[in-house]
C-alpha cells in the first residue's frame, strides 16, 4: 500500500475537468485508489467515482492524501502525483 500527501496547486482546484482527468487516470489502473482531505482523513473518496471526487471540494492549496493499494500501486501513485503536480495540464 502506498500513501502520499500532495497539494492541489491548480487555480480552480478539483473542478469537473480536473476531476474527470483524475478519475480517468485512476480508473486506468487496477489498484484501488482513495483520496481524503488531510484534515478529515476519515472521509475517503473513491478516486474512480467522479461524484466522490467532486464532493471532496478540493480547492487550490487543499492538502490531499492519496492511498493506492493493488498490483500496479507504484505506477498508479506516480502517475496521479504527476498529474496533480502538473496542475492537470491547465496552467
Amino acid at each position: 500500500m502506498q500513501k502520499r500527501t500532495v497539494t492541489i496547486t491548480n487555480r480552480l482546484g478539483l473542478h469537473a475537468r480536473a476531476a474527470a482527468k483524475l478519475v480517468k487516470l485512476a480508473a486506468s489502473h487496477k489498484s484501488r485508489v482513495t483520496l481524503a482531505r488531510a484534515e478529515a482523513l476519515q472521509h475517503t473518496a473513491d478516486a474512480k467515482s467522479i461524484f466522490s471526487v467532486l464532493l471532496l471540494a478540493a480547492t487550490q492549496n487543499t492538502l490531499i492524501e492519496i492511498t493506492v493499494e493493488g498490483p500496479d500501486e507504484e505506477l498508479a501513485m506516480d502517475a496521479l502525483c504527476r498529474l496533480i503536480a502538473e496542475k492537470f495540464g491547465e496552467e
Binding site: L12, G13, L14, H15, A16, R17, A19, A20, K21, V23, K24, D46, S49, I50, F51, S52, L54, L55, A57, T59
Partner: protein, 594 residues
C-alpha cells in the same frame, strides 16, 4: 416513507383558492415539468424490470455522450470535450447507478423519479460546497439527470397521457407545456406548491373551470400518487388522508355544487331584473385575457374592469410593448362586442417600471402609483393610451383612470389622450376618435370631489376595496386590524351614497367593481343606495343574478335608507340581518349561498 397500512391522521393544508369548487380524487404527482417526471408506485414484481429499464437508459445516455464527445473533439479540439468527459464519467459512475437502483427497489419508484430524486439529493450536497466554482458543477449533474430522464420518457411514456380518471394534479408548478396537453375530462383539480391568483395554473384552472388551490408549500413532499386528496377551491384548502366524516361532508358538498352548477347553466340566460322590474347590469372583472372564457360562461354583460397591469406579469421583456398591448386590447374588444370593456390604465407602483434612481417606498399603497406614476412617467402612459385607442377602433373600449385624488389629474390625462389622438391621426393610424374616460372613485378625496370629477369624466367606477381601506384607515393585510375592514360601516355606506348621488345629479353612469359587488348581502345595500351596475369576479355572477331576481328594489331602498341613519357597523349588520327575513325566503337562501 409513508406506510400504506397505517392510517394517517387527516391533514389540512392552506393555500390560495384560485378556482372555486370541491374536488375529490386521486393525487397524481407531476414533477419538474422540464423533465416531466411523474411519480409512480410500482408493484414488487415490476421492480427488477424497472431497474433494467434504468440501466438501458444509462447505457443509451453514455452512447449519446460519446458521440457528442467525438463531435466536439472534431469541431473544437479535445480540450473542449472535457466537460462532456465529466458527464460520461458521471453516467459510468457506479456509486450513482447503485444509489438509483437502490432507490427504485426501496421506494417502489419508477426509474425517472429515482433518477431525479437521487440526483436532486446530490445537488443539495453540492449546494453546500463553499467554493463557488466547484459548487456550480451542480449544473453538470442536472444535465446528466435530464439526459437519462429524457431517454427514459422517450422509450416509455409515463406522462400525463397515461393519466387515470379522477386525477388531481399535484406539482410544484405547472408549466404551459404540461397543461396544454391535459385531458380535462380526467383532471378534477389542481394543487401547486407555488403560485398565486395569476399564475399559469390559476388561469388555466379558471378557464376550464376546475377547482384549484395554489401556493400550498411543500405539497409535493407530503402527498404520494394515488392517495385520496380533497381540494376546496373556494376556501383554498387541501385535505390529505381525509377521515370518513370529512369524505362524506365533501361528497355532499360536491353534490350540492353540481346541482348548483346545473341551475347556473339553466339560469344564465335569464335577465338580471328585480321583482319590481328594474334591470341591473352584471359585468365581469378580468385580470388576464385568457380568462375571457369565464366571461362567456357566466354570461356577463360586458367587462366592467380589465386590470391592465397584469400585462406586466406576462410581458416577455418585463414591460409590455405597444404591440403586445394592442394585441391584448384588440382581443378584448373582439370578445366583448357591443357590451364593451373598461380598461383601467396601469395601477402599478414605481418598482414595476424599473425606473432609474427610484427608491423603494415605505408605504407604496399611498405612494407613487397608478395615475400618479402614469403622469410622472408619461411615455409609458402614452404608449398604453395609443394601444387602447388603436384597439378601440375595433370595439367598444373605455379608459378608466385609477387612484385619482385630484381633478387636475383627470385634466392632465385628458390632455395627453387628446394629444395621442392627434398624433395617431397625423400618422394616419386607425383609432377611435371619441373614447369615454372614467374615473375610479377609491379614495375619500375623490368621494368628496365626486361632482367636480363627474364634470371632467364620462363615468365613475367605484373601487370599494381601496375606498374602505383608506376611508376606515385599515390595512387589510395587517392581522391586528383587518377585522376593522368593514363594508357595513355606516361611513362606507354614506360615502357610496355620496358618489351615487353625485353621479345621478351629473347624469353619468357609475359602476361598482370592488368585492362588495360579489357579496349578496352587500349587493342589496348597493342597489338600495342607487347603484344599478355591478362588476365582479365572473364566478360570482350566478349567485348575484339569482339575488337580483328575488328582491324588490323598493325593499332594498328602504333597507339602505334605514342603514344610512344608523351609527355603528354592528347596528347596520343587525338591521340588515333582521330585515332579510322580510325580503322573502328565496332571498335569504340566495344571500346565504354567497
Amino acid at each position: 416513507m409513508r406506510g400504506s397500512i397505517r392510517k394517517l391522521p387527516e391533514e389540512r393544508l392552506e393555500g390560495i383558492g384560485v378556482c372555486p369548487g370541491v374536488a375529490i380524487g386521486n393525487a397524481f404527482l407531476v414533477d419538474d415539468p422540464r423533465g416531466r417526471v411523474v411519480r409512480v408506485f410500482l408493484p414488487k414484481e415490476r421492480l427488477e424490470s424497472e431497474i433494467l429499464r434504468f440501466r438501458d437508459a444509462a447505457r443509451a445516455a453514455q452512447a449519446q455522450v460519446k458521440l457528442d464527445i467525438e463531435r466536439v473533439r472534431a469541431a473544437l479540439g479535445s480540450d473542449h470535450a472535457y466537460i462532456l468527459e465529466a458527464h460520461l464519467l458521471m453516467l459510468q459512475d457506479r456509486t450513482l447507478g447503485r444509489q438509483i437502483e437502490n432507490f427504485i427497489r426501496v421506494n417502489h419508484a419508477n426509474a425517472e423519479w429515482a433518477v431525479r430524486d437521487v440526483t436532486q439529493h446530490l445537488l443539495e450536497v453540492y449546494g453546500q460546497i463553499e467554493d463557488e466554482y466547484l459548487r456550480e458543477r451542480g449544473s453538470d449533474i442536472e444535465d446528466v439527470a435530464h439526459r437519462i430522464i429524457k431517454i427514459l420518457s422517450g422509450k416509455e411514456q409515463r406522462s400525463l397521457n397515461e393519466l387515470a380518471d379522477n386525477s388531481i394534479l399535484v406539482a410544484d408548478d405547472l408549466l404551459p407545456s404540461v397543461t396544454a396537453d391535459l385531458d380535462p375530462r380526467k383532471v378534477l383539480g389542481f394543487v401547486t406548491g407555488i403560485g398565486g391568483w395569476t399564475s399559469h395554473t390559476a388561469i388555466i384552472a379558471r378557464s376550464v373551470n376546475i377547482p384549484a388551490v395554489v401556493g400550498v408549500r411543500g405539497i409535493t413532499e407530503r402527498v404520494r400518487s394515488g392517495e385520496t386528496v380533497i381540494i376546496d377551491g373556494s376556501a383554498g384548502t387541501v385535505i390529505l388522508n381525509p377521515s370518513p366524516e370529512t369524505l362524506i361532508f365533501y361528497t355532499e358538498e360536491r353534490q350540492r355544487q353540481r346541482q348548483q352548477a346545473l341551475y347556473d347553466i339553466e339560469e344564465r340566460e335569464l335577465p338580471a331584473i328585480t321583482l319590481d322590474n328594474h334591470e341591473i347590469r352584471l359585468r365581469a372583472n378580468i385580470e388576464l385575457i385568457e380568462e375571457i372564457d369565464t366571461y362567456q360562461r357566466f354570461n356577463a354583460a360586458g367587462v366592467g374592469l380589465y386590470r391592465s397591469e397584469f400585462l406586466y406579469s406576462q410581458a416577455e421583456s418585463g414591460q409590455p410593448t405597444e404591440e403586445e398591448q394592442y394585441e391584448a386590447y384588440k382581443f378584448l374588444a373582439g370578445m366583448v362586442g357591443d357590451e364593451g370593456a373598461v380598461i383601467r390604465t396601469f395601477d402599478l407602483g414605481g418598482d414595476k417600471l424599473h425606473l432609474e434612481g427610484f427608491k423603494a417606498e415605505r408605504n407604496p399603497a399611498i405612494g407613487m402609483r397608478a395615475i400618479r406614476l402614469s403622469l410622472s412617467v408619461e411615455p409609458v402612459f402614452r404608449t398604453q393610451v395609443r394601444a387602447i385607442l388603436r384597439a378601440a377602433a375595433l370595439g367598444d373600449l373605455k379608459i378608466l383612470l385609477p387612484f385619482v385624488t385630484n381633478v387636475d389629474e383627470v385634466r392632465r390625462a385628458k390632455k395627453i389622450i387628446a394629444d395621442v389622438k392627434r398624433q395617431l391621426a397625423s400618422e394616419g393610424i386607425p383609432h377611435k376618435e371619441t373614447t369615454q374616460l372614467g374615473v375610479m372613485i377609491e379614495v375619500p378625496a375623490a368621494v368628496m370631489m365626486a361632482e367636480a370629477l363627474a364634470r371632467e369624466s364620462d363615468f365613475f367606477s367605484l373601487g370599494t376595496n381601496d375606498l374602505i381601506q383608506s376611508l376606515l384607515a385599515v390595512d387589510r393585510g395587517n392581522e391586528n386590524v383587518s377585522a376593522l375592514f368593514d363594508p357595513m360601516h355606516p361611513a362606507v355606506l354614506r360615502a357610496i351614497k355620496m358618489v351615487s348621488d353625485a353621479a345621478a345629479k351629473m347624469q353619468i353612469p357609475v359602476n361598482v367593481c370592488g368585492e362588495m359587488a360579489s357579496n349578496p348581502v352587500q349587493v342589496i345595500l348597493l342597489l338600495g343606495l342607487g347603484l344599478r351596475d355591478l362588476s365582479m369576479t365572473p364566478s360570482a355572477i350566478p349567485a348575484i343574478r339569482r339575488l337580483v331576481r328575488s328582491i324588490k328594489l323598493a325593499d332594498a331602498e328602504a333597507l339602505a335608507a334605514k342603514a344610512l341613519s344608523l351609527d355603528t357597523p354592528a347596528a347596520v349588520r343587525h338591521h340588515v340581518q333582521t330585515h332579510l327575513n322580510d325580503l322573502g325566503s328565496e332571498l335569504l337562501a340566495a344571500a346565504h349561498a354567497g
